[in-house]
């Protein structure tokens, strides 16, 4: 069997983490590339539906990252996001979602190094956890094959 590469989604805010990822790249830092980045204007833009949808698309892990508290390009977007995740995460945990499969971080545009370190931590963690078979089991059979293996990374 081929080596397991997890299917993961990463929602990054345009102003900080996405730019931080750019910095890591232009600085030629090495990090595993097993995540698909979805750029959003602000962490406050991330509806919790995005996370649920990601898992329904067969994600083994989801990573959300944006500007540090106090650094939001729109002043308060990440403050709202923070409270939303603080509450949503506890609901997910209560409903049996494995919270190790969710990662939240604040990474600024200047933190290319931190980006590389966190990316490595995330991918290694999800790889070790393996495919999220529990959640995959509720994906309807008609979509399962596409969702779970679809596209690779």
């Amino acid at each position: 069997m081929a080596e397991f590469h997890p299917k993961t989604f990463a929602f990054f805010c345009n102003w900080c983490t996405y730019t931080g990822a750019d910095l890591a790249g232009t600085s030629r830092m090495l990090y595993p590339a097993d995540f698909r980045v979805i750029k959003v204007p602000c962490t406050g833009r991330i509806d919790f539906e995005f996370i649920v949808k990601a898992f329904e698309q067969g994600a083994d892990g989801v990573w959300i990252s944006g500007c540090h508290i106090g650094d939001c390009h729109y002043n308060s977007g990440n403050y709202y996001a923070q409270r939303r995740w603080a509450i949503f995460r506890q609901e997910l945990g209560f409903l049996g979602i494995d919270l190790r499969r969710l990662k939240f971080s604040w990474i600024s545009a200047a933190e290319g190094r931190k980006f590389a370190v966190e990316a490595k931590e995330f991918v290694e963690r999800i790889t070790e956890l393996g495919p999220y078979t529990e959640f995959h089991s509720i994906i309807p059979k008609t979509r399962e094959a596409e969702a779970v293996t679809g596209g690779g990374n």
């Binding site: 409270r83 939303r84 997910l92 994906i139």
Partner: protein, 300 residues
């Protein structure tokens, strides 16, 4: 209770003594309708089967004598306030228990109803249901927090009660795998009838996310994935807004313990942000505001 055990409408009322409180309620309702102060009063009337009530919408003073109030009045009439038909009426009167009044506070806060369009007939309530519902044991609003007229001797309201959460704590002690099994088995029973949404006084969206299909966030089929997603979404959309009235829980025909998810979120919101929904109509729920400088430990 045997739902086939039918007795003619009105029988219960004629049999039972009309309490002083109900007499006063009827009098006041008569006054309000006769003077034209309100166009309509929404209240409880006798049901068609024993132990049940029906919502009544009265417009004539003489119909005020159909109003009742006792432990059978379990349903929340506040949920009618979200309907276009009622909104079109202008000023109306409504009979509420404490939990229903809390729901009205949430609606006021969210500008879903105008205070001047409501005449709130608040009933002091010591619990409803036979046996009394568990939520009534730890009710924080025996005396409604908002009303225009109050019926019954006010009872000092109790504060936050940890006892409420015994069942939630039991679930919290389970492992993620056990919880996953528990909830997916529960949600698998869901038939996507949306009774939970319809019965909820706070679910006010005229077009629910689950009815939207561009994009289709919530899979509409009643299969495991769609059911999990729906129940997760329903509860989260009510986080910080749910008043714990159990209307959704009681409405669910498949006996899914929706109250446990609601209580979990009620507890989270109280533990982390010291907020209880519906106690007044001014304090913003936690997700609609923030504090400068606050941080959480799970975001590194």
């Amino acid at each position: 209770m045997n739902i086939n055990d039918k007795s003619p409408a009105g029988e219960v009322a004629t049999m039972a003594e009309v309490s002083e409180v109900v007499k006063k309620l009827r009098e006041r309702a008569k006054e309000l309708l006769a003077s034209g102060a309100v166009k309509m009063i929404i209240g409880y009337g006798d049901g068609y089967s024993k132990g049940k009530t029906v919502p009544i919408f009265i417009t004539k003073p003489e119909d005020a004598d159909r109003l009742i109030f006792d432990a059978r009045c379990q349903n929340s009439l506040s949920m009618y306030l979200k309907t276009a038909e009622i909104k079109a009426k202008g000023k109306i009167g409504i009979v509420v228990k404490g939990c229903d009044a809390r729901a009205i506070n949430v609606l006021l806060l969210e500008n879903q109803v105008k205070r001047e369009n409501l005449h709130i007939l608040g009933m002091v309530c010591e619990g409803v249901g036979d046996p009394t519902q568990d939520k009534c044991g730890w009710c924080m609003a025996n005396t409604p927090p908002v009303y225009d007229d109050l019926f019954g001797e006010p009872i000092p309201n109790k504060g936050w009660n940890e006892e409420t959460f015994a069942e939630v704590l039991k679930l919290e002690a389970m492992s993620p795998a056990e919880l996953w099994k528990f909830w997916t088995e529960q949600f698998d029973k869901c038939i996507k009838c949306y009774a939970c949404r319809q019965a909820c006084p706070i679910c006010t969206c005229t077009r629910c996310i689950t009815d939207k299909n561009q994009p289709q966030w919530v899979p509409t089929s009643p299969h495991s994935e769609g059911n999990y997603h729906w129940n997760l979404t329903r509860a989260f959309h009510l986080a910080g807004r749910c008043v714990g009235c159990n209307a959704c829980h009681n409405a669910c025909p498949m006996d899914i313990p929706l109250k446990l998810i609601n209580w979990k979120l009620i507890k989270v919101v109280y533990d982390d942000y010291n907020f209880i929904a519906g106690m007044d109509s001014a304090t913003l729920p936690p997700m609609e505001t923030y504090k400068v400088g606050e941080e959480t430990d799970f975001i590194k």
